[in-house]
């Protein structure tokens, strides 16, 4: 017969944080095999670092001299291309002597977005600031009232990328909430309409939405009555993004227990009050990660507007280099440059999302 019960030995208490030496020994040099692997990978890493640094820094050409760049081809990077074409890449075809206008406008717009991310600044004047800054942005970019006119087909580069993203997101997010609520409505007509919208838009690639907005839409309205191509594209992206976001928001709405709505009803709140005060705050807090995911992907998807001859950051890079045989060979450096810009924006969004999640979790006492 087996022993009825026996105690297992107590486990040792968790070790204190090891110092660097014992950590190294334990994790990197614990056995002959592990030591070998460590040395091998260290060598590989060193070699890769040397190659990259050699290309990007040591043998790189920093001045805007096409001949020098040509001589360094394959050995060192030609960062001179950024010095030479930087303005064209960043601002596109916008008139050179008016460069301060897109720069100011974009700084203002980004400032507003950053301010809006800070919950302490959420009050009524921030809500008023949005239309004000939007109007200022359009005036600075488009001109009129003292500034020379710049047609929208000359807008480009980073200002266009930022504007397309901010405008589409600011419009798509509220629309997505309305559609998500509509999909859960008890009114069959509203629900059917919202389902049809989401399914229809999700079934079409963004490129075809953009084509429709820029080329097909004008065919169906009387000449001269079609809104500006930029407006059509913003609306196209907005409608496209809203369909995806609506599904994310709907997921959030479904995560709010039924009891919450019942409790809200039992204390006399109307349906709208219950949605606004009880359901949406919890639903949106639950879907911060997928929503930000969606924002990031939309930010990068704006590069597709190149297809319809709007030269945002990616498009402006091709525009700047393709037409100049002296600099065309150094497009890789240009791509690395704009990749770094995209990364900074996306990484900022991702960090903000993380902070938001932590703050929401803390404030709910979870």
């Amino acid at each position: 017969m087996a022993a009825p019960m026996s105690f297992i030995d107590a486990r040792p208490p968790p070790a204190r944080r090891p110092d660097a030496r014992s950590w190294l020994r334990e994790n990197l040099f614990s056995s002959a095999g592990s030591t070998l692997a460590t040395l091998l990978f260290a060598a590989l890493l060193a070699w890769a670092a040397a190659v990259v640094l050699g290309w990007a820094v040591v043998h790189a050409v920093w001045v805007a001299d096409a001949d020098e760049c040509q001589a360094a081809r394959g050995i060192g990077a030609c960062w001179g291309v950024i010095a030479e074409k930087g303005r064209l890449i960043l601002l596109g075809r916008y008139p050179a002597d008016e460069s301060w206008r897109p720069v100011t406008a974009t700084v203002l717009l980004l400032g507003l977005v950053v301010a809006s991310c800070n919950r302490r600044l959420w009050n009524s004047w921030l809500a008023l600031l949005w239309p004000a800054v939007s109007a200022l942005y359009l005036w600075l970019m488009g001109g009129g009232a003292g500034l020379s006119r710049v047609a929208t087909d000359l807008w480009g580069g980073l200002p266009l990328t930022v504007m397309l993203t901010v405008a589409s997101l600011a419009l798509a997010f509220p629309l997505a909430i309305v559609i998500a609520l509509g999909r859960r409505s008890t009114m069959p007509a509203v629900r059917t309409l919202c389902i049809a919208y989401v399914e229809l838009v999700r079934g079409v690639p963004l490129i075809s939405v953009l084509f429709m907005a820029s080329f097909m839409f004008p065919l169906f309205v009387p000449p001269g009555h079609s809104p500006d191509v930029l407006v059509r594209v913003v609306i196209g992206i907005t409608l496209f993004a809203a369909a995806y976001m609506a599904e994310i928001v709907r997921g959030g709405l479904q995560s709010v227990p039924r009891g919450q709505v019942e409790a809200a009803a039992s204390i006399g709140l109307t349906w709208w009050q219950a949605q606004r005060k009880i359901v949406l705050p919890q639903a949106l807090a639950a879907v911060v990660p997928p929503i930000v995911n969606n924002f990031i992907s939309l930010f990068k998807d704006t590069s597709l507007v190149t297809i319809v001859s709007l030269y945002e950051l990616t498009g402006a890079l091709s525009l700047a280099l393709d037409s100049d045989p002296n600099w065309r060979p150094f497009k890789a450096e240009g791509y690395l440059f704009i990749a770094a810009i995209y990364f900074v924006f996306c990484f900022a969004m991702s960090r903000y999302s993380l902070r938001l999640e932590q703050r929401l979790a803390r404030s709910h006492g979870r």
Binding site: A265, S266, L269, H364
Partner: protein, 247 residues
């Protein structure tokens, strides 16, 4: 005798799946009366009290609450919900709002009070359930018993004439049941009209004016606690009592 504050007249209700959940319910509750509703699970007790604040709609009969005929119209529903407070088994506090914000919501948005007035009223109700010191915490930072007391205070904030309790202690750890029942007993002593679905038979004996026993959607018995516990007339009620009192 004055008009009853809650009056069911031959009320019938079917769920969407066809289940006949309330059968010919007749029930009159006078102002200030304390009713305990019990019965086996699935007997329709919760559905019955959820009809009183229009969380559930019925299909046949008439239900009048605080002088308003509940016929599915929004006006009557809104009016009734201002007169009726409800406490749920799972508390259903709003986790994203502090205790105080949970309480001021209805006074501010339904009762149209100013922020200061709403705060004052909320604090008074928190005093009443003896939990005022937790006003600035979030619900999930409180124990189950504390959460349920906050839920009671929230329901009291619109100063209702009728309070509904849907198994208020069933989700609580045993040692927290008393603190919640004590608060309900206090309310009962203050003349509040009270309908409570519960299996706490000790509470029923101590507080109830009448015990309503339901089974399969019907009211089987309706009697003062002494009669109900002493000599229930129906076989089903005696069987039920032997189960809940037997341990």
């Amino acid at each position: 005798m004055t008009d009853p504050v809650v009056q069911f007249e031959r009320v019938n209700k079917w769920f969407d799946n066809g289940l006949h959940v309330l059968r010919d319910i007749d029930l009159r509750v006078q102002s200030g009366e304390r009713i305990v509703i019990c019965g086996p699970s699935g007997s329709g007790k919760s559905t019955l009290i959820r009809c009183i604040n229009a969380l559930e709609q019925y299909q046949e009969g008439r239900l009048t609450v605080a002088g308003h005929l509940l016929d599915g119209g929004e006006g009557a529903t809104a009016a009734v919900r201002r007169e009726v407070g409800m406490v749920f088994q799972q508390f259903n506090l709003f986790p994203h709002l502090t205790v105080l914000e949970n309480l001021t919501l209805a006074p501010r948005w339904v009762g149209q009070l100013s922020a200061a007035e709403a705060n004052e009223r909320a604090m008074a109700q928190l005093e009443r359930v003896r939990i005022a010191e937790q006003a600035h915490k979030y619900p999930l930072q409180l124990s189950g018993g504390q959460q349920q007391r906050v839920a009671i205070a929230r329901a009291l904030c619109l100063q209702p004439r009728i309070m509904l309790f849907d198994e208020p202690t069933s989700a609580l750890d045993p040692e927290m049941i008393k603190e919640v029942l004590d608060v309900i007993v206090d309310l009962a002593g203050q003349g509040m009209t009270l309908l409570c679905v519960t299996h706490e038979m000790g509470f029923a004996k101590a507080v109830a004016d009448r015990v309503v026993f339901m089974d399969e959607g019907q009211i089987m018995e309706e009697a003062p606690p002494a009669d109900f516990f002493g000599n229930a007339s129906s076989e089903r009620a005696r069987e039920f009592l032997s189960k809940v009192l037997g341990h």
